[in-house]
Structure formats: C-alpha cells, structure tokens
C-alpha cells in the first residue's frame, strides 16, 4: 500500500497515521466484498483516497436477504420509534461532522465551507424525515366516506425492500436525501453508493450502526453501479427501485428488468439545469409516497339500512 499522499503527515512527521479499511455495511455488519475485490477511489484530481470494496452480485443478493429479514420488525416498529431512531442518526452525525466534512471535501473536491454546507444540510435532512415518520399516515391516509354502512380506512404501508441507486454526484447530501425517505416510512434499503465517491456512504454505515438503526434496515454497497444494480432490478424479492443514480441508458435497462415482478420504480429526477439536481432544496413527500402502498380496510358498521340496525 502506498503512502497516503495527503497532508496529515506533515504536521506530525514522526507519527504514521492509521488508515481506515472501508467496508460494506450489510445486515448490521461490516463485511468485505465476498469477491475479495476492491477498487481505487480517488479525489477529482486523481489522488488516491482509499480502496473500496468492489461488490459482486452475490453481495447484492446477501444485502437483499438482510433487508428482507429486517423488514418485519422495522415496518412493525411504531412511527414514533422510527422517528427517534432517525433523529438519533442526526445526533450521531453531528458528533462526527468533521470526519464527514473531510470525506465530502475529498470526495467531491469541495472547499471546507462548501463541504460543511453539504454535511449540515444532510444532518438537517435526517431531522426533517425524523419528524415525518408519524405524520405521513395522516397526510396520505384517512377515512373514506363510502355510501353505505361501512367503516372504511386507507392507510399507507411501506412497500418492502427498496433498491436505491444513490446519486453519483452528491456523495453525501444526495445519498442521505434518498435513504432517509425510504426508511422513514418503514421500508428497508439496499443502497448502491456513488460509484466514484463511495467513501462518505461507507462511513455513513458506521453512523447507522451506532444510531439504533436495526441491522439490515440500511445496507450499503460500493462498486460498479451497473454491475450491482442489475441483479437488484431483476431480484424477485425486491419490491421497488429508486433510480436516482442511474443515467438514462442504465435507468431504462433497469426499469425493464424491474417490470418482471412489477417493482415500483422511481425514475431519475428530470434535471433542467446544468448543475444537476439541487439536493439543498426542501424535499416534497414524493420520495416517501413512491415507496408506500395504500391499504384500504372495510368493515360493516351496522348502523344504517332500511331493515333497521343490525349491531
């Protein structure tokens, strides 16, 4: 392994710094890729930052198993509980802010203030979605005034296991902006980190692991987006796919594969400016509703009818 080409050693010439081995985050654990492969991650100038796991199809399938296993308990947790867990993620991130500012600055070639703005916004986004967990049901569900003696209630329910292609450009704010809405409502996620800048995503796994997020609720894979996404899009036990990080060609391929078990597909956001998606903008609820089902339950009330009451 070559010496890290960055500055830290200048300040402390006599102490060799400790590098981090970046690992996947699957089922609450930190495995290497089962393939044993890694790829070099560089900053935008081409300086080596780290070796990241190059996930295989098998890693993708293992992540789906972990996500499915976690779905029952996470979707069955109270919305209040999920809100507190998401808020805890914000708390943990706040404490490790400097690390993330550093990683985002390296990953995206940003100045420290610009990277700080990204991380701040990402932390605030967790807070925003933490508050949504116990409100979305009232906003998108409710009683229906049917023309008959029936109690009739529609409630949103999580779709299930969601494959998430994190945005390629925004390695952290974009990442958080697509993960948080998926899990806020009780889904579990298999996330493919930005291919070029996966390190903030892999570090986020460490934060999630210490934030009371149950293992398997979020699984983070790094590697070639197209290689990992293909088996996820075709996977029969994945219920939905968020194509945020796919280009047009890949998005179309994956949407076709996803049709095989009628996954819910969230297409890449149409971009109408050269800078790409503005992840700083306050989100709407669409990233949550895209992965919600509506369940409608009927029951007779017995309170009407020409023949009189029947209750």
């Amino acid at each position: 392994m070559s010496d890290k080409p960055k500055n830290t050693e200048k300040a402390e010439p006599r102490r060799l710094s400790v590098f981090k081995t970046y690992k996947l985050y699957v089922g609450g654990k930190f495995p290497r890729s089962e393939s044993g492969r890694v790829y070099e991650v560089t900053d935008p100038k081409g300086n080596w930052l780290a070796n990241a796991p190059l996930s295989s199809r098998k890693d993708a399938r293992d992540a789906v198993v972990a996500a499915r296993k976690a779905f029952g308990a996470w979707s069955g947790a109270t919305a209040y509980n999920r809100g507190q867990v998401l808020y805890r993620v914000a708390e943990m991130l706040e404490g490790r802010k400097e690390q993330f500012v550093h990683e985002v600055a390296d990953a995206e070639g940003l100045s420290k203030p610009k990277a700080t703005a990204q991380v701040d916004a990402a932390i605030d986004r967790w807070v925003w979605y933490a508050g949504w967990t116990d409100k979305i049901a009232q906003v998108v569900g409710g009683g229906n005034p049917v023309a008959g003696p029936f109690f009739n209630l529609s409630s949103p329910e999580p779709t299930g296991v969601v494959a998430v292609l994190a945005p390629q450009e925004s390695s952290f704010l974009g990442l958080v902006s697509v993960i948080a809405p998926v899990i806020a409502t009780g889904n579990t996620a298999v996330v493919i980190a930005s291919e070029r800048s996966p390190l903030p995503a892999l570090s986020l796994g460490e934060v999630l692991a210490t934030s009371d997020v149950p293992g398997g609720v979020v699984n983070v894979l790094s590697g070639r987006t197209a290689e990992i996404a293909a088996p996820l899009a075709a996977h029969q036990d994945v219920n939905a796919i968020d194509l945020a990080g796919a280009d047009d060609v890949l998005a179309k391929e994956l949407e076709i594969a996803a049709a095989d078990n009628l996954k819910r597909v969230l297409r890449p956001q149409p971009v109408d400016n050269a800078d790409g998606v503005d992840w700083f903008a306050t989100p709407g609820i669409e990233r949550m509703t895209a992965f919600l089902e509506t369940k409608t339950v009927w029951h007779p009330t017995g309170s009407l009818g020409a023949s009189g009451s029947s209750y």
Partner: protein, 507 residues
C-alpha cells in the same frame, strides 16, 4: 361434467354430521321446490345499431383500414353488432385529437370541467336501465348486478370526481397541480362501463384528455358512453373511444404523444406495458390480477361468511380481479362451513342474465371459458376434489357451473394461478399466523377477506396481509371514495378517492 358432480352431491347431503335432516331433505327437493317463473328484463329499452364506428374527435368514424369485428352476446352467441376495429393509424388520429383538445380542456376553469362531469353523471343515471341491459347483453353478467352494482357505481364515480375538478388545489398535491396531458387507457371486459368510469372520470376531472380502448368482447357500453359525451356537450376530442384488440392497446401504450398510461387487465400484459413505457416520462398505473384469500376464523358467523364467500367468488361469475378465489377456513369449522356453503351454492340460479332472478350469468367469451375449463381440469388432475351443485347449463352460450375444490394445497395450480371464473379453492389453516402466511403466499396482493367476531383479530390480521383492499366481515364492496389497487404483482397506483387523482396529476 355437471352430471358427474350431481352424482357426488347426495353423499354430501347425507353426511351424518349435517346439522339438521330437515335442511338436507329440503335441499334434495330444492331444484323443484324453488322454480321461479321467468322474469326477464325487457331488452326493448336498448336500441343496438347494426354497426358502430370509432369515436374520434367527437365523430363516429370507420377504421382507417376499414376493419370491423363482431360483438357477441355470451349468453346466446347472438351477434349484437359490428364494430369498427381500431388500428395504429386510428390510434394516431385519436391521440392527435386528444392532444389538440388538451390545451382548451385543461385551461377550462375546474368548475366548468366539473359541470361537464356532473352532466355525464346525471345522463348515466337517466339512461341507467338502458345501459344495464346493454351491459348484460354484451358482457353476459346478470342484470341484477349491472342494475344494482355496475351502473350505480358508474354514475357515482362520475359524480364523485366531478366534485374534485375545481378542488384540486386542496387535494394534497400542492397548489395548482397540473394535468399530465393525453391519457391512454386500456380496460378489460369484466366491468366494461365501470372500468371506463374509473379511468375517464378522474382523468377528465384533473384536466387530461383521453384515448380509451374497451375490450374486444365488450365494446358497446363504451360506444354508448361516447353518445353520452355528445349529449353532455363535451368538447370534441376530450374523450376518444377506440374499440379494438390488443394491437390497438399496444399502439396506444407505445404512442410517443401519450403522457399517461392506465391499464386494467392481466398481470402478463401489465408487465409488458411496464417494459414498453420504461425509459419514457409516461406515468403508469396498473390494476392487474389477484388471487384473493378469504379467511374464515372459527368464531365467524357462518351464515354471513357463506354469503361473503359466495359474493367473493361468484359475483360476476368470478371474473373479478379482486375475487376471493382462495377460501382459507380454520380447520375446526371446515366441515360445517363447507356443508353450509354447498347448501347455499345449490340455491344459486344460473341462466338468462336478463332474468332478474339470475345469480350466475354467462362466461364472457369462449376463450375465457376454455381457460377456466382447463384450469379446473388441472385442479382435478392434481388431486383436488371437485364439486358443483346440480346445475343445468343452457345449450347456447358460454357457461360454467359454480365450482369448488376441496383438499387443495398451496402447491396446486388452482391455488396459485388466477382462474378468473366461478371456481373456489378451499384450503385450511389452524392458527392466525398460518392463515396470514398462506394468504400472503402469492405474487399477487390485491384483495383479502377476514371473517371473525373478534375485533383485535381483524385489525391484527388486516395489518399483516399484503393486499390493497381488505374486506372484513364483508366482501366485494366498492365505492368511488375508497382507493382500490394492489400490492406486489397486482399492480401499482390507486383508483378511487383522493388517491385516484394522483395518477392523473403531474406530481
């Protein structure tokens, strides 16, 4: 087939565990004791022309290539009319007309669009009996259903969405939600006019224009609806009706100037449509197949449950995507419930759909009849036990006796595949957990039923079932205010209620 089933019946009625001898002997006499005089609804109320055109840009026209097809009454095989068959050129023209009409229609104040829809709702109510008879003739379902279920729901649906047209700002999709543009809609033959209403009412309320293809076996009510649009003074091109086959549907779905695709039909076609629109900006909603579980717990009121089971699978000859086609009975009441169910099935009247006393009408087409027949034979071949009540089938038309299978396992084809016919597969369970696991053991997720007196069990089981519509202590209830649609491979998106607007708005 029916003779063989008749042979089996006495052994069931003579079952020593049967509750009372009186009922059993009453049932043996049933076929003669309850003879009703024929009570047919007059078909004079509906005037079917010998031929119909496509309805494009406010005019009835021939197909560009001059093709026509015949539509047949499934109960008699009588040819009802000859209908123009849309091809891709016609799809082009219809989409063009809808596009041209879109700017003005979407720019109308919502209150004006609302009034058009209210007009349509009222005209449907006025012509309700005519349309019910027409639908029964073209589809084969009993007049009791078209008159009491289909048509009232059709009118109610337009009335409901009419009210939304000028209230979209308050629908929870942000201020001033925009319509999508031209909606391409393809509907099935099982509820021809009701499915049209589910598609067209929310589309127009939201400000879209539509190109709709009715199913090839049931084009007539959609063409009568075109006439209603004219009576209502609906601007030209806002609604275009293209009778035709799957190729016309595929052309609508693939048309580059269609902004929204809505389809109700089979899961296989739904998947093909999802592939077709991949990579486009077309918004898609799909309402597809189902294999609904109807779960009866041991504390359920048996008589009510039996009614619900019958409604669940024999309504519209079981040709219903949300049919309760898998009966899951708690083991301890299996025999008792089956006895009651068989007794009830023996009182169902199969025959002339126009007769007001008819419970079971005709199967919609020879193709569907062949499919049902093949799947039922498969059930027998795989070892399930087949039973049908004594039931004489008319000599003309397409008919299938109400049928139930016992000794069915989850591995049986008839427990997995959607049959879309009057065929019930009976399975058993011991614990609520087992019931939930079996109910969810399907790629579908459209509907389910729960029968129990215990409130907490209803809510707990309803919470665990992966299905879009759960009927507890009732079944097959529909309402325009109530969102309808599936989980998993039963499709996505919801029709009905505030939720139903989302499919037609740019949100």
């Amino acid at each position: 087939m029916t003779t063989e089933n008749m042979d089996k019946q006495p052994s069931n009625t003579n079952n020593p565990s049967s509750s009372t001898d009186k009922q059993s002997s009453g049932m043996n006499k049933r076929s003669s004791a309850f003879e009703y005089a024929p009570a047919p609804e007059s078909r004079a109320i509906v005037d079917i022309a010998p031929s119909y055109g496509l309805f494009v840009d406010g005019e009835f026209t021939e197909a560009a290539d001059g093709k026509v097809f015949k539509t047949v009454s499934p109960s008699t095989e009588e040819v009802l009319s000859e209908v123009a068959q849309a091809g891709s050129e016609d799809v082009d023209r219809a989409v063009g007309a809808a596009r041209k009409a879109f700017d003005k229609w979407s720019a109308l104040p919502g209150s004006e669009r609302a009034k058009y829809l209210f007009r349509i709702a009222r005209i449907i109510q006025e012509r309700s009996r005519e349309l019910a008879v027409l639908e029964t003739l073209d589809n084969g379902k009993p007049i009791r259903e078209t008159r009491d279920a289909d048509l009232p729901l059709v009118a109610a649906h337009f009335f409901y969405y009419a009210g939304w047209a000028d209230k979209l700002d308050h629908a929870g999709f942000g201020a001033h939600p925009r319509p999508l543009g031209v909606a391409g809609q393809v509907i099935p033959w099982n509820f021809p006019l009701l499915m049209l209403a589910w598609k067209i009412a929310p589309a127009l309320a939201a400000g879209n224009t539509v190109v709709l293809k009715p199913a090839e076996t049931t084009p007539l009510s959609a063409l009568f609806f075109a006439d209603i649009c004219r009576q209502a003074g609906l601007p030209r091109g806002v609604v275009n009706i293209l009778p035709g086959y799957g190729d016309a549907g595929a052309a609508i779905v693939a048309h580059p100037d269609v902004d929204k695709v809505a389809f109700t039909g089979s899961t296989a076609v739904g998947k093909e449509i999802a592939r077709t629109v991949a990579g486009t900006r077309k918004k898609l909603t799909l309402e597809l197949g189902g294999k609904g579980a109807n779960i009866v717990f041991d504390d359920a009121p048996i008589d009510q449950a039996v009614e619900g089971i019958v409604t669940g699978i024999f309504f519209n000859q079981g040709q219903v995507c949300c049919a309760g086609s898998r009966l899951l009975v708690q083991e301890s009441i299996h025999d008792e419930l089956l006895e009651s169910l068989k007794r009830r099935l023996s009182t169902l009247r199969l025959g002339d759909p126009l007769d007001k006393n008819t419970d079971i009408g005709a199967i919609n087409s020879p193709e569907q009849l062949a499919r049902i027949t093949a799947l039922a034979e498969r059930g027998e071949a795989e070892g399930a036990e087949r039973w049908s009540p004594a039931c004489e089938l008319p000599s003309a038309g397409y008919w299938f006796a109400p049928t139930l299978f016992t000794n069915v396992t989850q591995a049986h084809t008839i427990a997995r595949d959607e049959i879309f016919g009057p065929v019930l597969s009976v399975l058993t369970f011991r614990t609520p957990e087992e019931a939930v696991a079996k109910a969810n053991n399907t790629p579908y997720g459209l509907s389910a039923g729960i029968w129990t007196e215990k409130g907490s069990r209803i809510l707990a089981v309803a919470g665990k079932l992966r299905a879009g519509v759960i009927w507890s202590n009732t079944f097959n209830k529909f309402d325009p205010t109530s969102p309808f649609g599936g989980y998993k491979e039963s499709g996505f998106g919801r029709e009905g209620g505030r939720h139903g607007l989302e499919a037609y708005l740019d949100v």
